[in-house]
Symmetry: C2
DNA sequence: AGAAACCGTTGACAAATGTCAACGGTTTTT
DNA sequence: AAAAACCGTTGACATTTGTCAACGGTTTCT
């Protein structure tokens, strides 16, 4: 179960992991299974764990006064599920994270992660790289959101995230893009003409 | 001129800087002055420097096919101006960054920054913290953009960023929020009733 | 001092997107 | 096997936001 994580770290750190380091990683990350619809994090709770997704699909969303869900992140294999604001500030989360498919995770607390980053150079490097990529991806998404029409946003997203399109239903994708499912349905219809 | 940067690093790293470290910082960061409207980065160029703003105000924006500007970031004192995607991937930037007021910067290349992070623990720590904060801020902005109406976005922004409201004209704020200046004008009028 | 550029506002209208209700076809649950 | 929940689509209509043109009051440039 930890093999996928080890491979992930080695790949992104571009550094080999010693067998001691690997043992430490295996000892620290705890396996966790979630059935579809189970919560990984609930609004109001402090986010105690980050989770590396070995298998499955999850979503992160807020719920507004009217009960409508607004999806802020989608996760599949090799993604990290986490509410960073809550876990670093130790404040109650504004978001829910739940499993969209049955999901297998490897979870770790913030303190454990800091410890591992200290002891394992490859881990620190991998995290730095993830932060970098994450910052770039956020920037792109933000830029697309404020600059483009719903149609262009969808096309851009579909072009680069085929995986998500296949595994999440349209109303989830629509919410992720900040539009309603009806609007997305009409955009797609028109796009295929 | 470097004093403000030294103070900034000490504050966010929560570690004192030795005088050798301070000397290294002073030797590495180059002062640069920009007159209002001068470019710090132009679309198509690779972003070679990150700039710490000692004094002044800047904006980062893309220009679409119709010539319309879309403002993705606003910067004032104690902010870092940089196109991360371009500077880390070494790709041509999709953005312009220019001075909105006469501005004084301390600039540094990516290679120099990596070197400083290696040699000065406080620098590495400060950067980590900035990444963290940046990630949280991006998340909030994104969440607000996809969940809220233009009116709520403006109110939220105005409540937390009084400084920007005061120093940038309304059409810049509007673009930053992803709406037109006319819409913002109407929102404000209605909001004061 | 005069000209030009910039800025915010307003009106009339157009376009994009949301809301609500309904439907038929799945898939899931019981 | 029946019932319930889920999913995507469509139509009619409402709301939000954008577009274009114009204006008067700055500020900036020369």
């Amino acid at each position: 179960m930890h093999a996928k994580l080890i491979a992930y770290i080695s790949q992104y750190a571009n550094l080999p992991l010693t067998s001691e380091e690997q043992a430490l990683i295996v000892a620290t990350f705890q396996p966790k299974k979630l059935r579809k619809k189970q919560y990984f994090l609930q609004e109001g709770d402090v986010c105690k764990h980050a989770g590396f997704i070995v298998k499955g699909a999850m979503r992160q969303y807020s719920v507004d006064e009217k009960g409508a869900e607004h999806i802020v992140h989608l996760f599949i294999e090799n993604y990290w599920a986490n509410d960073r604001e809550s876990s670093t500030m130790l404040t109650p989360s504004k978001y829910n994270i739940d499993a969209w498919e049955d999901t297998e995770l490897l979870i770790i607390t913030r303190a454990e992660m800091l410890d591992l980053m200290d002891k394992i150079p490859a881990m620190a490097q991998m995290i730095r790289l993830m932060d970098e990529r994450n910052a770039i991806a956020s920037q792109r998404r933000l830029s697309s959101t404020i600059s483009n029409t719903a149609e262009k946003r969808y096309e851009e997203f579909a072009a680069h995230h085929q995986q998500f399109i296949q595994r999440f239903p349209q109303h989830i994708i629509a919410s992720f893009l900040g539009i309603t499912k009806e609007t997305l349905s009409r955009i797609r219809k028109q796009g295929t003409k």
